[in-house]
Subunit: 181 residues, 2 copies
DNA sequence: TGGGTCATGTAACCTGTTACATGATTAG
DNA sequence: CTAATCATGTAACAGGTTACATGACCCA
């Protein structure tokens, strides 16, 4: 998966591994966490597959920089992946795994679990609220207005998911307290 | 993660690897996908850690069955995990990764993406609707009513997530068509 | 007796994580 | 000059996937 994320970024422009990491940390962080070690490794395999190249016509401004750019094969692969029907339906939720077995704990403890969840949800809501303007601001500086729309969609997902999560946690707390009476 | 799922199930009762697989396939399938190969491997490491044992007092009804049961250490570990604050916030969403770069495709294609998503969402909604009664039915046959409540919560999450997903997909389709005019 | 499903695995691989090492460049 | 941060990696591990192998049991 990270492979295609990297391809997507290199499709915008030539980048070094370090820059890729920065973009993930600053823009894609709320739906993907990328380790530098993995980024550098993936860049090697992408190069072996001929999807990216480190031979760029624009030489780096620093000696210790190693910029990569996407190849035509890489662009083809990016589109193939985007068109691919089989969108993994993000199964495997550690959150629900835990919830499923939460009946083993005392009422107080399971209540605390959902309260902590709501707390964290509120925190990310604050982050996402700021993200809206950041995306708008950034998109104003690039030519392709269309792309910014899809970036905003991922942020909107975050907002809606958060709202849902908070509602769900509340619902669970009610279920627990109703039984307790 | 699967380790603790297995511990949770063995905490209900003694089970073979095959039975564990069946429970995952029939009850936990909409939030976790477990391969048999992994289940058998995890059972070995759980045994090595002393959290489960294959030495059971109740001998299997079939020669080729190998039932496992949870140990006191296993139960302690299960509770430790349930109480653990650091609930991984399920980052890394392949769905959003794809959405982020969807601007590379034609409007028609990106619209098709969200329509397909809504279609799949409606399908799982139907499955989850049936799941409600299944959980109720099953819980009526066991003594611990309390546990069934948490099972229902995971189903409710599924329902709410699905609704959210459908709304989001609709919202995205609107964004695309509004720009297209 | 032969096909289905019950039942247990092994091996290779892929993706992501954790911990660590190291050199180059820049700002104070 | 020195500390921060820019920049590139390696090694070992953990968790999950894919493909395959194999034997027991049951029912028609």
């Amino acid at each position: 998966m990270l492979k295609h994320g990297i391809l997507g970024l290199l499709n915008y422009r030539q980048m070094t591994g370090y820059e890729i990491k920065e973009v993930f940390r600053n823009s894609l962080n709320y739906f993907w966490d990328a380790q530098t070690s993995q980024i550098y490794r993936e860049l090697q395999t992408l190069r072996e597959r001929g999807w990216v190249t480190d031979e760029t016509d624009v030489p780096p401004d620093r000696a210790n920089k190693k910029p990569f750019s996407i190849t035509d094969e890489g662009r083809a692969e990016l589109c193939r992946w985007l068109r691919d029907e089989s969108v993994r339906t993000d199964t495997n939720s550690p959150l629900l795994m835990k919830t499923f077995f939460l009946g083993e704990l005392e009422e107080g403890e399971s209540l605390a679990f959902f309260r902590a969840l709501r707390e964290r949800s509120r925190e990310s809501a604050a982050v996402l609220a700021r993200a809206r303007d950041a995306v708008e601001e950034y998109s104003r500086r690039i030519p392709e207005r269309k792309k910014a729309m899809f970036w905003q969609m991922t942020r909107d997902f975050g907002v809606m998911y958060n709202e849902m999560l908070e509602k769900w946690a509340e619902h669970c707390e009610e279920m627990i307290t109703e039984v307790e009476e």
